[in-house]
Amino acid sequence: MTKKPTVVHPSLKKNALGLTIRDYEGSMSTLCAGCGHDSVTAAIVRAFWELETPPHLIAKLSGIGCSSKTPTYFVSGAHGFNSAHGRMPAIATGAAAANKELTYIGISGDGDSLSIGLGQMCHAIRRNLNMLYVIENNGVYGLTKGQFSASADVGSKSKKGEANRQSPIDPVMLALTLGATFVARSFSGDKTQLVPLLRAGLAHKGFALIDVISPCVTFNDHEGSTKSYRYTREKNVAVVETDFVPLRREISAEIAPDAVTSVTMHDGSVVRFTKVAPDYDPKDRQGVLGYLHERQSKGEVPTGLLYLDTSAPEMHELSGTTEVPLTKVPYEKLCPGSAALEKLQQAFR
């Protein structure tokens, strides 16, 4: 693995844990220069540093693909799991079932999540698994050199000029119809929008989906692509701007005058929606669906924290598991012992 220089500039700011942003970095990216995914990685690094999460309490998981390589590039002090193609949601589900105390972040791509892993992603949403799930969406299979993915828009052209004719799977619309409790879309080129979204997603108790349009500079950044930098910059409409105020941070930031609504998260932090279209309510699922349909049919790419519901129970509440992480329950509490077995067997006589 390529090593990064270890010299740290003395003036780098430290967070409450005494860690600089460099402490949240990982090893050097091996992706193509200019890859959108690297910008997402940088945003994740910043989000964790700002949230002051102890690195070793982070579990970062992924499947297979260019996007799934990126957990190596952030928070090297976290526990990581680069699993199998499309299977990260199940691995994350089991991990979260065993230890609810860690912060789970899953990095996936449009191939990993919308084709081979579509079923697992949908079911993780249904369980309202407590994790941040980032799709780095570029409309193309990069590692296998340029096949269309399931998120490619009709008419979008491949590098060789071939047009995609199958209708796309839109993870945002899908998640909304499945009952997802936190649905956002962003653009890798818009760090200002992405970092607060990541922070809010990490603070959300439940499944937080962020679909990040993240252009592939090698296979899908040409004229005719609908996932290129140029296209996304032109069509990106920030319908909601999100401001995330963590619990521990003093709420000194000036309250935006046009803030229409604010939502308190489970840990006491606050999400403030600002510059929202007048008829937009991020807590009204049907309204959001209708709004997105309308805007997307005009070729726009609406971004921001599009939907939020902090009232739905997450997986552990749904399955009634104990407050203590299962990995910390001592064996003595798990085994009923010989006397109970003796008694139980009276029913088998």
Binding site: N82, A90, T321, T327
Partner: protein
């Protein structure tokens, strides 16, 4: 006619032919349980269709005072309650045997046999007169024939009454109608038939130290006692009842009485791919986790079983085998997953397998599976089957050692990690070729990036041949080292035996009985029952120590034999297959006939 017949006590077999979905299962279970309570060794085999209602289903009961309770394939008494299968059912009765049928309608003459006694009881008529509700009439007909059998076989009515009381004590109306139906049949039989038959029961004291339990319930108990906290599964016959039982056991034993919260998380997954993924994720985080499945599930889990093998993550997989390939016959038994489990997944993979042969071993081996999975940081598969898993077996009472503590294998604590200068996941390895692992969240120094892609002995990504090989070679050595830790084979020696018999799992009762019968016929055989894979040297020694070995198993291709050929140094000419794979449990007759034929064939 039967007065002339010799009385045979506690040694006969009967078969009950029913239509599924009519409530016959509870009547048949009642009979089996009553015989067990009378202290008599008994077995019950449910031969049921892959269907909910309306298709033929059979239940076989074998009573044997010497404890030989493998499936009998000849029946002294047929309880012919399904007109649709009358023809073939009546054909299966032994000459000199009996057929009990519902004489509310006449039996066609074409079905009658001169060498069999037909016992007619107008069950439908009796029940129609006694009960008002149509559904009740159908259900109670079963209990009525149970009453007839009590009279014919001399089943202790006090025992039956007690069982009904235990079962329906809280539902007075149900208890009353069951009791009424039972008496209806019993009284009719006593008044109209020669009771009891020469085949009959007599109280014994052979089951006092036993319980009546199915293998899947015993497996679930094992998982409970092993301390499993995460279970993920997808419904599949015949494994579903493992998780059904685990759920009800955890509701009983893992629930905080005050908060109602549970020390377990049971996840019904979207498919088997997800189920094994959840197990791997949970075990990666340090929980004892398992899944239960059948052959189709093993096929689907293949990819991730390889991930767990290569990344060295414990996983316990309970495979309750059924008849394959493809959908196959989901409600019929087989031992068809031996090879697909031994080598599950792409690339070079080899797994630890456990072969329980009865519910008692299901209990203990499932605990063992967790210990081995964590000790060797690898998937462990316990291969049960439908016969063991879904049928009630008379099995020695389960005994738990309160001194047991889980073998969590080499796991570094926060203190251990603190002392380390630097943690490497796959180095250094111990004498069993296992390295210590760290668990997420325990200590900053334990942070590690788990990957299913090529890695070197320090855990770093690699595509360098030597570095890659070093790791997979250690994995092979690790698998080999596990041979000393899986349950040892059970070897039974016969004086002067030159023939070896090798078998596993649910074949055991039939093989044990068969070996005794063969010895009586002058063909002594030594018998080795395999209980785990990889094979220890004792396995090879046994095989080499015999001129010829018969490998008895329930699949078409001789999968155990193939595994023995591949994984021991024994000449394959020494290993001969004896295979029964139609989907019904093995009988001693298969063993005796199969070996006699081959031995005599070779001699002539």
């Amino acid at each position: 006619m039967h007065q002339e017949q010799q009385v045979r006590i506690n040694d006969f077999a009967l078969k009950l032919a029913n239509v599924n979905g009519t409530g016959s299962a509870s009547a048949n279970g009642l009979l089996m349980q009553a015989i067990f309570r009378m202290g008599i060794p008994v077995s019950g085999k449910n031969l049921f269709p892959s269907n909910i209602q309306g298709l033929p289903t059979w239940y076989e009961v074998r009573v044997n005072k010497s404890g030989n309770t493998a499936r009998a394939i000849e029946y002294d008494l047929m309880v012919a309650m399904n007109a649709e299968t009358h023809a073939r059912d009546i054909k299966e009765v032994k000459s000199g045997g009996w057929v009990l049928y519902d004489s509310s309608w006449p039996l066609p003459n074409s079905l009658l046999r001169p060498d069999v006694t037909f016992l007619g009881v107008p069950l439908a008529k009796l029940c129609n007169e006694a009960f008002a509700e149509p559904r009740e009439r159908i259900l109670m007909k079963n209990i009525a024939y149970a009453g007839v059998l009590c009279a014919l076989l001399d089943i202790d009515m006090k025992v039956i009454d007690q069982l009904l009381l235990e079962k329906y004590g809280k539902k007075k109306a149900l208890q009353d109608s069951n009791h009424k139906a039972l008496r209806l049949g019993y009284d009719f039989a006593v008044e109209n038939l020669d009771c009891p038959l020469p085949i009959r029961l007599q109280q014994m004291d052979a089951t006092g130290a036993h319980i009546l339990i199915d293998g899947n319930t015993a497996t679930a108990l094992g998982c409970l006692y092993a301390g499993a906290t995460v279970a993920a599964w997808y419904p599949i016959t015949p494994a579903t009842s493992v998780m059904d039982a685990f759920k009800s056991l955890t509701d009983k034993f893992r629930k905080d009485p005050e908060t109602g919260k549970k020390n377990v998380c049971i996840l019904q997954a979207e498919d088997e791919l997800a189920a094994i993924g959840m197990v791997i994720g949970a075990a990666w985080n340090g929980a004892r986790a398992f899944t239960s499945t059948a052959g189709p599930g093993i096929s689907l889990m293949g990819e991730l079983i390889g991930l767990a093998y290569y990344a060295e993550i414990p996983a316990v997989i309970i495979d309750v085998q059924r008849t394959g390939p493809s959908t196959g016959m989901p409600t019929r038994t087989q031992q068809g997953d031996i090879l697909s489990c031994a080598y599950a997944s792409h690339g070079d993979t080899k797994h630890i397998l456990l072969f329980p042969s009865n519910p008692n071993e299901c209990f203990h081996f499932s605990v063992k599976a967790f210990d081995l999975a964590e000790k060797f940081q690898t998937p462990v598969m316990m291969l049960s089957d439908l016969d063991i898993g879904m049928n009630d077996w008379v099995t020695p009472k389960l005994v738990w050692d309160d001194g047991y503590r889980p073998d969590r294998g080499r796991v570094l604590s926060a203190e251990d990690l603190e002392k380390l200068e630097k943690f490497y996941r796959y180095s250094p390895a111990d004498e069993n070729h296992v390295a210590a692992r760290s668990l997420p969240g325990v200590h900053a120094k334990g942070a590690f990036f788990t990957r299913g892609s090529g890695h070197n002995k320090l855990g770093g990504y690699t595509e360098i041949p030597d570095e890659y090989q070093e790791v997979v070679d250690r994995l092979a050595a690790k698998h080999k080292a596990a041979a000393r830790f899986v349950p040892a084979p059970i070897i039974q020696i016969k004086e002067g035996a030159k023939i070896g018999v090798v078998s596993l799992g649910g074949c055991d009762p039939a093989v044990r009985e068969g070996v005794e019968l063969l010895a009586g016929q002058g063909i002594p055989c030594d018998y080795m029952r395999l209980r785990g894979f990889p094979f220890d040297t004792v396995v090879e020694d046994f095989l080499n120590g015999h001129d010829q070995n018969f490998i008895i198993e329930q699949n078409r291709d001789g999968q155990l034999r193939t595994l023995l050929v591949a994984e021991t140094g024994v000449a394959k000419e020494k290993l001969k297959s004896l295979l029964v794979y139609g989907g019904f449990p093995l009988s001693a007759r298969h063993v005796v006939d199969g070996i006699t034929e081959r031995v005599k064939g070779a001699a002539s």
